[in-house]
């Protein structure tokens, strides 16, 4: 039981991730598709498998269906067998009727029975929200070598970004000596990646101390740093929090640039190809006589007759003759009909862009979304699941269209920059 591979993993996958706008309208953030074939959680989960860890609890809360479906039995990540397993841990009613998780630490506290049922020397706590490649086995060994109570994975980020993260200061032995959660003024450039290795007994003790302490970064960490042995585990590779539309788009584009360091196949990132419940396997992508491609990622099952530039296409995307797709991310089963244009846009699953429609039109990149100015302000459009964009329709910049909006409910004169369209035809 002292082998590092017995380390129990708790994967926090309950976050709403609301800044991902309508991509999280019907699914939790970890279940958002990424890079054509993957979902965001595949990165954390594959790191677990590739680190030879065997027992995982996935803590869910917000719209967990898509996520549960994707995890399936855990077989894709080799997490089935007598000593292996992945368990979904949803919130449960306790003494009161409604006991939703109030924060990261609270979520773990409510699953102490799971920790107790799976004895291990350490507990690894991860978030299912990040794109990275990391060997947790090495981190646990580091934690042991430092004789730490708690080890936090940390990396250097630009000072201008530090306000998104837990920020720490370390001494020459990597002991964390100062901590500030989401600081307004940058005093350090060392950010927490939200990856913690706890000594199990220490974790149980910390959680039982004060039930009002519901968040690791806000409550448990500052206390631990003050009173116990907390070390930083330095990380130097590719790591992105894809919590905003802009960051999500950028990380996808990094796939097209081999120098970015984002290499899912080389990292052995595994996904569950069976979770889409297709009866048949995707055939190879079919490229027509007139296909034109430039720096793009194309998945099996695509049919390309038109032009695709600087874009990521998930399985089953169809780009018809004369159609153009540029700087965009198209999820599974999207169709771009003849002479249509998709520019700087993210299309959720099964979006139909009818002939001659333009999604991403004009120069209004700086006109922020009126309903969500903090989500959409760099020019990117987001079109929800199963939307049909009618023939000839023009959609400007920073627009969003809610999932399942029928073609009939689009305004006749198109969507201007910064507009949001709801399924009933309301434009805001």
């Amino acid at each position: 039981m002292n082998s590092t591979k017995n380390t129990l993993v708790l994967l926090l996958a309950g976050g709403v991730g609301s800044r991902l706008n309508i991509l999280v309208q019907h699914r939790a953030k970890p279940a958002v598709p990424f890079g054509g074939l993957y979902r965001i959680i595949d990165f954390s989960l594959s790191n677990v498998t590739n680190s030879r860890l065997q027992k995982v609890g996935v803590l869910t809360q917000y719209k967990p269906l898509s996520l549960m479906n994707h995890l399936g039995s855990g077989e894709a990540w080799d997490l089935t067998g007598r000593t292996r397993g992945v368990k979904i841990l949803p919130p449960r009613t306790g003494a009161r009727d409604s006991d939703w998780y109030k924060g990261t630490a609270d979520a773990v506290r409510r699953n102490i029975d799971f920790i107790e049922a799976n004895p291990s020397k350490e507990v690894l706590i991860l978030s299912g929200d990040h794109i990275y490649h990391m060997d947790f086995e090495v981190m646990v060994e580091y934690h042991r070598a430092k004789k730490a109570d708690l080890t936090v994975a940390m990396m250097v980020v630009p000072k201008s970004q530090i306000h998104h993260y837990g920020a720490g200061t370390i001494d020459e032995k990597n002991r964390i000596i100062d901590w500030e959660e989401k600081p307004k003024v940058a005093r350090t450039n060392l950010a927490s990646m939200g990856i913690y290795v706890f000594d199990r007994d220490y974790l149980l003790k910390s959680l039982s101390r004060n039930k009002e302490e519901v968040d690791f970064g806000m409550h448990l960490l500052p206390w631990a740093i003050e009173n116990d042995n907390v070390f930083a585990y330095p990380f130097y590779g590719y790591w992105r929090d894809v919590g905003t539309i802009q960051a999500y788009w950028q990380a996808n584009m990094d796939l097209l640039n081999p120098d970015s360091g984002l290499l899912p196949e080389q990292w052995r990132i595994i996904t569950n190809v069976e979770s889409s419940h297709r009866i048949y396997d995707w055939p190879p992508a079919r490229y027509g006589y007139k296909a034109e491609l430039h720096k793009s990622m194309i998945s099996a099952g695509c049919k390309i007759e038109g032009t695709v530039v600087n874009s990521i296409l998930a399985p089953g995307v169809v780009v018809e003759k004369g159609a153009q797709v540029r700087d965009s991310i198209l999820f599974e089963g999207c169709r771009v009909e003849q002479e249509a244009v998709v520019d700087l846009s993210i299309l959720d699953k099964h979006v139909e862009v009818s002939a001659r429609a333009m999604v991403g039109h004009g120069d209004g990149h700086k006109v922020a979304s009126r309903s969500a100015p903090n989500h959409l302000f760099t020019g990117i459009n987001v079109i929800g699941k199963r939307v049909t964009v009618p023939e000839g329709m023009h959609i400007g910049r920073n627009c969003s269209v809610h999932g399942y909006t029928a073609g009939d409910n689009f305004p006749g004169n198109g969507l201007s920059d910064g507009a949001t369209l709801e399924p009933d035809g309301t434009v805001s």
Binding site: L37, P264, P283, Y287, M297
Partner: protein, 415 residues
């Protein structure tokens, strides 16, 4: 256990000499096809789509590649309490001492397996062909006619008749089929233009009787030995007329052509709609990332699965996962199996390349010579920079560095 209605037996052991280096280490049924799968995926997908859930695969030549590909059978939903794929290799016993001596002998040696299932219909088919067929419809016809044997036939060019078992079929049921009136196995002179697909549906007790009878002979093939005996005995042999695509693919040229039939605006092989499945665990197919077409990549009229990197030009070709095409390289009219890595400034024309080959820079394959000849590269080769290989040449698998030369002539066999 639910009783098995139809038991399918796939004859998948054959090497097929004409395919030469492509069947160097695998039976023909395990030959890659269609940019992701293997030939045997076609009959297996057909079985799945026909609702047949008990399958035996009779395998003898270099079985590992096939065993590995079949896995548990879960890829075709053939894993469950009443569903399964069993691979039946040759064995020795107190009375059995030899290899499978032919297709009929292979089935005969596994009659204990067949009789354990005690099926109502026994479907025997080859694992070597590319086609899309509803076996259930053929079995229904077999049952309606209460036939002893129903065989599937396809119309062929009469000049090709010498390669097949051919028959005259009565017009009893019009386009559906009819009684087999005459049957010739690979006739020297053209006799008829209905060729057997080697898809047989037997009434079990007739099959048992025929196999027992056949054991006293010297030759043990269904086409050559069993069917003529049944015809002579006046048993009820019916022909089921099939009119779709059928890829026989017994020569390198035919194999190449079948691959080309996947391409074009209206492909003859409509793999997108054939309900095709393969085993995605095999060769880690499921773990490849999407294909990247780079800054200088151009692709037209081609099929490319996940896991490729294209920096050059690909035309009229089929690329399996893990293929990389370097800058300024042209790949045309070619089929590149898994993990062919081609360097810069190369030209590959009308090449069929087996798995795991590396090509240096300025390599030219399929140049000059007799135009239209397919050049074949066997597996695990490291083709040195500047090498030229003429059209129609054959490169043996796993050549050592010293076996290579700068110029391989058209039609030459390098080994």
């Amino acid at each position: 256990m639910l009783k098995t209605t139809t038991l399918a037996m796939i004859l998948a052991g054959g090497r097929v000499d004409e395919l030469d280096v492509l069947t160097y280490g695998r039976p023909k049924s395990a030959l890659p096809f269609g940019g992701v799968g293997r030939v045997i995926d076609f009959p297996l997908s057909n079985l799945m789509n026909s609702g047949i859930e008990q399958v035996a695969i009779l395998s003898q030549y270099h079985s590992y590649s096939l065993i590995n590909h079949i896995g548990t059978g879960a890829a075709w939903d053939m894993l469950g309490r009443n569903r399964g794929i069993s691979i039946l290799p040759p064995y020795i016993g107190s009375t059995v001492k030899e290899w499978y001596r032919g297709s009929a002998d292979a089935v005969h040696k596994n009659l204990d397996f067949v009789q354990f299932h005690d099926p109502e219909y026994i479907l025997i088919l080859s694992g070597d062909h590319i086609y899309h067929m509803d076996y259930d419809d053929m079995i229904t016809y077999h049952a309606q006619r209460d036939a002893d044997l129903t065989m599937a036939f396809i119309r062929i060019e009469p000049s090709e008749a010498y390669r097949f078992g051919v028959a005259n079929i009565s017009d009893e049921d019009g386009p559906r089929g009819g009684r087999v009136l005459d049957y010739w196995e690979k006739p020297r002179e053209q006799q008829a233009d209905w060729a057997s697909l080697t898809v047989y549906c037997f009434k079990p007790e007739v099959l048992y009787r025929m196999l027992a009878l056949n054991q006293q002979q010297e030759s043990f093939e269904f086409g050559r030995d069993i069917i003529p005996v049944m015809m002579n005995a006046g048993l009820k042999v019916y022909g089921y007329k099939f009119c779709g695509y059928w890829g026989y693919t017994r020569t390198v040229d035919e194999y190449w052509q079948s691959n080309m039939d996947l391409l074009g605006d209206k492909p003859l092989i409509d793999i997108d709609n054939w309900g095709f499945r393969t085993n995605l665990d095999q060769r880690g197919i499921r773990d490849f990332q999407p294909t990247i077409v780079g800054d200088y990549g151009t692709v037209s009229n081609s099929l490319i699965y996940n896991g490729c990197r294209i920096e050059g030009t690909v035309r009229n070709s089929v690329l399996f996962p893990g293929v990389e095409i370097g800058r300024n390289t042209l790949v045309e009219d070619s089929v590149l199996f898994f993990n062919n890595v081609v360097g810069h400034n190369c030209t590959l024309k009308k090449v069929v390349a087996d798995v795991n080959n590396f090509y240096g820079d300025h390599v030219r394959i399929g140049e000059g010579g007799a135009a239209g000849k397919v050049t074949v590269v066997g597996w695990n080769n490291d083709v040195p920079d500047q090498t030229t290989v003429g059209a129609g040449a054959t490169i043996w698998p796993e050549l050592t560095e010293s076996s290579w030369k700068k110029q391989v002539a058209a039609g030459e066999v390098l080994r």
